[in-house]
Symmetry: C3
């Protein structure tokens, strides 16, 4: 594709490739555990559940990140996607440890998902107001998004 169009998606694509690599890493961990499955095989069960929880949310995450990046601003969406990968890794590793270490619930990265959702909704609403009333406040949305993306780093 031409460079001009790729400019709009290069960061999103990079994060997507990284997330695919992480998925493959998770799948390999499950496979390794299944080979060394022992009588109690609690380790395999835990890895399997952690992998399933991650895989279940993966399409939702990809869809939100791409819509946020396309309809609003690219860099904050890719940044939130990167943070999501870090959170997911922590979740996966935490699940493998002792039960007391494992994180509660099976839905993680709620704040990042909410950020991506709000961003893409703002972009879509802006498109609608631009179409109907010719009011375009995309620039302000993008500035606010970039500023608030730093807040995602707060644990």
């Amino acid at each position: 594709m031409e460079i001009a169009i790729l400019d709009n998606v290069i960061f999103l694509g990079t994060v997507t490739v990284l997330s695919a690599l992480q998925n493959v890493f998770f799948a390999y961990t499950v496979q390794n555990e299944s080979v060394h499955k022992r009588a109690g095989h609690t380790a395999f069960d835990r890895v399997n559940v952690a992998n399933h929880n991650c895989v279940d949310v993966y399409p939702t995450f990809l869809a939100l990140m791409w819509t946020a990046g396309l309809f609003c601003s690219q860099a904050p969406a890719a940044f939130a996607g990167l943070l999501y990968l870090v959170v997911r890794h922590k979740y996966f590793v935490g699940y493998l440890g002792e039960t007391s270490q494992s994180l509660p619930g099976f839905f993680f990265g709620k704040r990042l998902m909410a950020f991506l959702f709000i961003t893409s909704t703002a972009g879509i609403i802006n498109y609608a107001t631009n179409y109907f009333f010719e009011i375009n406040f995309l620039y302000y949305i993008q500035t606010a998004t970039k500023a608030s993306a730093a807040l995602l780093l707060i644990p």
Copy 2:
């Protein structure tokens, strides 16, 4: 991205964001049930199965909706996607009720998926005939698609 390109995907993106929101709602329902899990825990099992059936078909649905929207016409594809979300919600809620209420099978929205599949196939075939024989009947396909999209509303 420029407004000109976004014009082609804005409806698809909106439906994608809505479907992601619905996915998150399903995931929260499962989490709530898992917290209140009781001895028989049939409710949790049912919610879990319903969520899994929805999640399993989700990437296929997204892929079909986007190819149908890109290669053929956007509005009918987004309309079929919206209807699919409604059908999915009914399926999920129906699964939670009594066993007699739950819908048979685990693959739902067949008609909508078939519509999206036929639309995208027609678009791809039209691209091929346009490339090889320079025959372009995309306009007729789009008219037929728009007309037949209303038929999807028949229960």
Copy 3:
């Protein structure tokens, strides 16, 4: 969308539609087995597991194929995607047979996934070098990718 942009994704879209069709075929096989479930119901279990393994990797496969096609060259990525569909079909059918016939592990098509991953990484790295140092070796990457795509046919 305009024909000029569709040129860049038509093969990827075709393979995506084919993979969606295959997913639906897998889902129907599971449904058929679940209707004829008998006492031992090992056949249903096996079909179910095979379907789940295929569905779990599906979003990762789609993401890798599209990033490889967008950031590097389209035809080899679509070709690898087609081969992946063949491998997946063999895996699914092999899983249904006797236990001795079933393929080991639950992650298949490793070589194809690695090819898609390397291709998309090369495209992203080329974009970065083009941006920072104005060195563009995309043409050489594409030639190498096309030449090495034939090697994927070796069993």
